[in-house]
Symmetry: D2
Subunit: 425 residues, 4 copies
């Protein structure tokens, strides 16, 4: 929820448009916004198709008035819940899991929004960092395992909530702290109260946020992303050293890990790939066709850096392997003599059911090939992945984390059909 998006205190305006946040919220639009509570979302859809109706925040009317919700994460028992409710006559306007929560809230006989929400959440499983906004109340809640990040900031007396702390920085606000797993924060009439959901057997925040998603200038789970990511690079250098002339990164997500690798290995860091900034983040574009088109124009190699060099290139992860293969060929074309690919996380072999848009097992190269096979497929001189232990150690004091996409060890069982099928393979 709300990654890179800012939340102020506001009331009942809907602006749902596709486009960059900066384009949608022009100065003119911003000026026209009344009220003192607001909620926004720049989510790429992970369940349901990316049609207009599924765009978040979702806004509905129910007995207590209007209610808006933004949801980061995925529920794991929605199919059951949804078909049950449909059997009783419920109507859905979206095909997302998020709407289930709204129906559960609407069915609750509790009076206060926070109590309705607690009742609703007692019936759902999976990953959710949620923001809810009614006409007078603002609620933020993180699931008991704390799969997805959510943090609190402040700006000129207002309370801010966002996935990552950089959202606060950009608007000149300050970071306060992360919500605890299972914590629910209620803001009403300027007062903030903290509640607790029933605890989970274990807290399992997503480690992939450190590996790829979060920005290095953010804090998530009360850790500085930059520190963790640098350690990922350092540990990678220790586990998989390379005799090379230079270290380069796949910009920008691997820059910090590459600096860690460089400082640990003593191999000089260089800028060997230039990102073409007028194309957006590859990962966030729905649809494979678009993704391919954009990879082609996303990076450009710097010949002067690469020519006749033995190169360590750091990437955060390999998903399908297609982008990596193209990158490697690009580097060879620019004259790189040797290419040593180092990945600052273990092989991604399993889909994510908790909110990261990782494709099915068939599409994941690491579920079909061994590291040696991948090395051959990618045509690199050597390939090294950071170990699971190395990655988790780098994450520091967070404690146990969800690393299901690497290990297949799912902390919450998947009861929805899609999940079952994949797991039964």
């Amino acid at each position: 929820m709300i990654s890179k998006e800012v939340l102020k205190k506001v009331r009942k305006i809907e602006i749902s448009t596709r486009g960059l946040v900066n384009d949608v919220f022009s100065p003119k639009v911003l000026e026209s916004l009344p009220g003192s509570l607001a909620i926004g979302h720049t989510r790429y859809s992970t369940t349901g198709s990316s049609t207009g109706r599924n765009i978040q925040p979702i806004v509905v009317n129910y007995k207590s008035g209007a209610l808006a919700v933004a949801h980061n994460g995925n529920l794991t028992n929605t199919a059951q819940l949804r078909s049950g409710m449909e059997r009783e006559g419920s109507i859905f306007q979206t095909t997302t899991d998020t709407e289930i929560i709204l129906h559960l809230i609407a069915r609750s006989q509790e009076q206060l929004l926070e109590n309705r929400l607690k009742e609703a959440l007692s019936q759902v499983a999976g990953a959710y960092s949620l923001l809810l906004l009614s006409e007078d109340t603002f609620v933020a809640v993180r699931d008991p395992r704390g799969f997805r990040p959510l943090c609190i900031g402040a700006f000129e007396g207002a309370t801010l909530m966002a996935s990552e702390s950089c959202a606060f920085d950009i608007m000149g606000g300050s970071y306060l702290r992360s919500l605890e797993p299972g914590e629910m924060v209620v803001v009403r009439n300027g007062e903030m109260e903290s509640h607790r959901l029933p605890p989970a057997p274990e807290k399992t925040p997503c480690v992939f946020e450190f590996v790829y998603f979060a920005r290095p200038d953010s804090r998530i789970y009360d850790e500085k992303v930059d520190k963790v990511r640098r350690r990922l690079g350092k540990y990678l250098a220790r586990e998989h050293p390379a005799a090379a002339d230079i270290v380069i990164s796949v910009p920008d997500s691997s820059n910090t890990a590459a600096l860690g690798y460089s400082s640990e290995s003593g191999i000089r860091f260089e800028i060997g790939l230039i990102r073409n900034h007028y194309v957006g983040r590859t990962f966030i574009q729905p649809g494979q066709q678009q993704r391919d088109h954009e990879v082609r124009v996303k990076f450009n190699p710097v010949e002067g850096v690469l020519q006749d060099r033995s190169v360590v290139i750091i990437d955060d992860s390999i998903v399908r392997g297609t982008t990596s293969r193209k990158l490697v060929r690009m580097l060879r074309g620019a004259g790189a003599r040797e290419i040593h690919l180092r990945i600052s996380s273990p092989p991604v072999s399993w889909p994510c059911y908790y909110g990261v848009d990782i494709p099915t097992r068939e599409e994941l190269i690491a579920s079909r090939m061994s590291v040696i096979e991948i090395q051959e497929y990618l045509e690199v001189d050597s390939l090294g992945y950071l170990s699971l232990e190395g990655m988790l150690e780098a994450a520091g004091e967070v404690g146990p984390m969800c690393s299901a996409c690497f290990s297949g060890d799912y902390p919450v069982p998947i009861t929805d059909e899609l999940g079952k099928e994949v797991l039964e393979q």
Copy 2:
């Protein structure tokens, strides 16, 4: 529903935009439409505000798949039903009465759409001509009193449904017949079946359709609008003759009545007002401010016709009186010597709860003033309204009709709050 809109057999496309039908459905858009079933609506909102969410057809997902509905008319017991459902936890995406019907359908345990619909309609009261479209079935139904029109046409083997028959003509189709009050027509796999809802004590189609809404080239209730409207003018001439040089109409809605007045009275018909065609139908624009702006540029008097003449001007009705007053001044400004205003219906004194956007009693000039007072307010030399009896006689063989906006005699009680308040005044 679907006045002036065409319905072909189609499947699950949503195009909801504000604008003229001709602009929204460009040749390019039309070509891009797949499938063989379609439903459309050009409704001005009569309940709920005219926001995007309330635009019809409304499309939802429920246990049996997608369902679209377009509704002409107003339900009279929605507040009760809605609050009941909300109490049980239902969520609404619009503020319209139409969505109630969808919820009732979704809650039904029947298998067939027509049976679900019958169960749903057994719980609602008021006026509805409805079109429903599921992925394989097309249902049209008219409420047992038949408040609003709905007719069946055919085009190249396809079944068409529309409020007025002119919709069929425009696309080259042919008129078959009106749906009976309480008739439900189901089209599935090219087969058409007729069902019956439980009968009402009396059939009461809306007489205002003849007076104003329907186009003279249409049939509604199996009557030719042109014939009825001409009779309205003739009877008006008999009830309220005038010694004048010419008869003019407020174009275009009163043209036919004016010709009837002219032929009965022997006074020459002339074109004394020119409509500026680039402004849309006044009535259909939501918001008073826009209405005022557009009245100013809507008509232009023809001086050569009006100068020094004694003029009978025919209008279909007087609602607030503000437009009429402006028109009268315009005619005087163009040199009319005498102005005899003749209205082809009785004074509109009561709001409509069955789907016509008539304002509250306070705004209706005839609920505040006598005919003599209105005559003075409008500054006309004489004013004559057609009698209730005259109007109903003109409607011909239709039988009893709803004339509540003229008589205050509401055939279906109004149980919604808004209605009660007004009626208790």
Copy 3:
């Protein structure tokens, strides 16, 4: 120029968009306009293709600053002038004849805009009613033969100029008078001066404006259009009587002539065709394809009026004959027993080189067929055209007029290539 468009005193804003005037000039746009001089145009392109660059008013920069021009009419010697200027190195931004005038103005060594314009106009031939706007001066001029109309109005101390007086009425202004042929009116600092161009051997205003273009509520050439058009209908009734039950018109352009025919013949006027108002004026749409599409949905017959009747139908003119043929079939389909087509002008047999978009001789039905042949082609029971003499007599006190499209008698020779070719056939 400026038919149906309003001109106030303003300064250097450009809004050139396709769309209805009402849509382009929203209240928001209107409020945002600074200054006290304005010029506008709703022209359908008669020379040059209808691309964005050719949309008027044309605005250019030259040594004396910005200059905007709107032009109603067509020049007849532009090809020569343009190729001469191009040979000397001139650059054109449009493919219209209007830009020639701007180049001639820019080349003039005179100081005052009106003198530059006089010098420019001394070199061009053909038809022009022109409005020019510099940063401080507003000039209106009508060619010495007065082919196209142009009139002066006033509104709250401001001077207005428009093709037709109805433009003044709509905004609440008043009509002052027509510009004389060859008159140039200069408005500067609130002062109005009248100048004269060297006189033409004869004044020849376009008679087709009375027949079709002008609105009946307008004055052009200081005559009331309504009066002239009614006389066209009366004289038509005298020249071509018919034994019929009713007189109907092709709405709206022939309404007034039909009333004239009705009053002269004593045959009752009826409304037998309903215009579908959400489609724009057929004539004004560029491109034949669009025209055909729109004819199909433009009119709908009123069966109750036409059934078993012998009908006189009045139209203003027949151009290609295709629309008329479709209309006649529509009337037969609605049950008309006999159809007597009466045209309130003579056969259109020649193209217009002075600003009316009449197609080439090949496309004009009357240049290929006799009246009897046309009658057969259109499948009418009888066909009568008003005579040239009748038409010109109806025009009243205007004096000699251009009727070249009817007579082939071109008052100004056509020296441009296109013209030559056609005339040499």
Copy 4:
């Protein structure tokens, strides 16, 4: 011209829209383009206001047909030429210098486009890299001093032209060579011919392209930008060493220079600032107000990197000083203990008249303050600019270059009024 834009062989389509290239040229638009020659431009306006009419490429019609032009650079004698042409009656559609060239071409009596262009260019002074496209010919030319870059590439048998070679890479094409100063390349019927303009006394390519504009993965003037920019950083480290913990850059334009500084000084390179990628390149936005808004959200400091560190920060240049001041405060806020600002070019003290949008002397901080004063104003612990000699030496084998914005030594005199005034200060 055409910086970051791709040119294929095409014919006479105009798409001029504001927005990112990627957004304007959607796959759908690209598919719809016919022909085999194309020209494009992503210029920020340096003369004339940034209105729609001034957007390049400019397209005109003249005696030889349509002609499109895209121009990188600024002419220095346009005011004279323009007023001369206006005196003779020429009309201009833009307020840019580029249109002058089109007028000169149109006035030429030569037959071939290349000869017309030579004649035209013999009359203009200043900086121009030009692309011209007629219906069958494609001409690229660089002014005799070679102020602005222009290079030739190839793609599947087609000839490409662009300011920077990275444009070829992105589309999968290959770099051939830079045009020589004074070289004109004509492509017609697939044949390429090279011509020469009369030589200038000296070649003076712009050094600021190396300092800021060009991308490190490009070649300009046949030099690899990356190599030059790295040398800028190295020489800067030699001239202005600093005792610091880390070197950071203002991303992305200073990344390469910072790596050079780091490798020369042995101080570790770190990523201390994160660019918010959804905001465009500050420099390219017209209007100061927008620029300020965007600076605020453009960068975010990485606290984990900066806290308690003594930091060398590398920037390419200081223009007004306002952005630098904000950046410095941001670094302090993130905990930086010492800030040593190093600039990889000399103080910018003079405006550019050859195509770089540098503001007036009043706005340039270095024309008002000494280095010490700037250091105080920016609140840095030390400030060091690369020397003029160092910068030019870093540029390598290019030879003499234009460094007027640093030195005030203008290789071509400025005869236009604006220029004179500024220079006479």
